[in-house]
Symmetry: C2
Subunit: 222 residues, 2 copies
DNA sequence: CGGTGTACTATACACCGTACGTTATAGCTT
DNA sequence: AAGCTATAACGTACGGTGTATAGTACACCG
């Protein structure tokens, strides 16, 4: 090798660059296929270089999650509180659909980080302003969050399965092998069940049920 | 080696034995630590022996899931439909709490299997008997399922984090570093938020919201 | 100009799931 | 009773994973 040091220059890496590249990879090839080695290769760097910026893989996951949570839109002002709640929930769901890895990142790790707190602050503020007491606001927040997480994660899961031909075939055969005598209702409702697995309409249906229950609770305080 | 062939006899393995042992291991050491190699070792057998009975790890996961779903209690008869719905949802949640691996098995894989269909049949039957049309019954079923899955998975996740000292410390410090100026509501409601992360009360709160919405929908059909 | 901190590399370990080819035995056929 | 075949279980190997540990070369500062 000649005298010219063709080594990669020094500060090629930064937390931001790593997080952005990691996000790109997760979206391009799926969350399961993501690996630190692949990320390092994409960055033209050895796998261990990442450990300068993140303590381990989970630490990186947390950073990616917070990076995404920054994209959740803020609460619209000057709207009735049910519409504000709807907006936040839909915003989070929309983001999860745009970045499917976010669903897994939210579901598999405890919440932390600045942007995640920002979203919670928005929703909690709406509920408190609407007149809910502390306890009810907290309960409602948890309920809404887990609903959005569960419904949207499930939707993404099912959509992925539909894309994968192996999974699609298995789903079909599973349905076909159900005996109409033993499971009459499931067989009868098969088309509806397959139709209602996901979509804005399905999401809003459940969300509206929750909001209807909430509004009724406001009208008749204990 | 003397003439006595001390090889392990032939049919030492069976699908049932494998599934039961797998379940034991998952519960003993956590779902993430579970591996086919560990399972094979526990059974006193080479890793590849399992592939005689299951096509791959996911196939085994499906079998374990269905094995667990068999334990979901049936629908109580002679009760108002909201109570029946409550019973099914609580039964599923209870089982997920008793067997934390079930949460991950349900969330990470599409539904299939005989026992899983049985549970769906029960809930759908209740809804149809209550007078919901096909579409609404299907929508409601999906909503209830995703709520139970989301709420309970989250609860389990959080409980696990509380057990792990590293996670607990991180949660504490995350909360402590939130500036009261930027996130006043989150900081103010910290005790309530921590208290409402899980528990029967929290679960029932959300479930009752959904049921209240449903009953209101019955009273005022579109 | 020499020392020091740090960004990055190299090597290695202990795992993982599973593809492939081999062996030995249980049970049927003759 | 002998032989054949199907298959349960084995052994080996491959390509991957996260990360602990130790080493290296550059940028900066005295």
């Amino acid at each position: 090798m000649p005298a010219g040091r063709t080594r990669t220059p020094r500060n090629t890496l930064s937390p931001e660059l790593i997080v952005r590249t990691a996000l790109d990879l997760m979206e391009a090839q799926g969350n399961d296929a993501f690996s630190l080695r692949g990320l390092a290769a994409e960055l033209g760097v050895g796998p261990m270089a990442l450990y300068t910026y993140f303590r381990n893989k989970d630490d990186l996951y947390d950073a990616v999650r917070d990076h995404l949570m920054a994209l959740v839109p803020g609460v619209p002002e000057d709207a009735p509180w049910p519409d504000q709640v709807r907006a936040v929930c839909r915003g989070l769901r929309r983001l999860m659909l745009q970045h499917p890895c976010l669903a897994q990142l939210l579901a598999s790790r405890p919440l932390s980080g600045h942007e995640t707190a920002r979203v919670a602050e928005g929703l909690l503020g709406v509920l408190r302003s609407a007149g809910f007491d502390k306890e009810t606001a907290a309960r409602t927040h948890t309920t809404l969050f887990t609903y959005v997480l569960g419904a949207t994660s499930w939707e993404i899961q099912m959509a992925a399965e539909r894309g994968n031909p192996e999974g699609w075939r298995r789903l079909r055969t599973t349905m076909a092998t159900l005996s109409p005598e033993e499971f009459p209702t499931v067989v009868e409702l098969a088309p509806e069940l397959s139709r209602t697995t996901g979509g804005d309409e399905q999401f809003d249906y459940g969300l509206d049920l929750l909001l209807a229950g909430l509004q009724q609770q406001v009208r008749t305080p204990s």
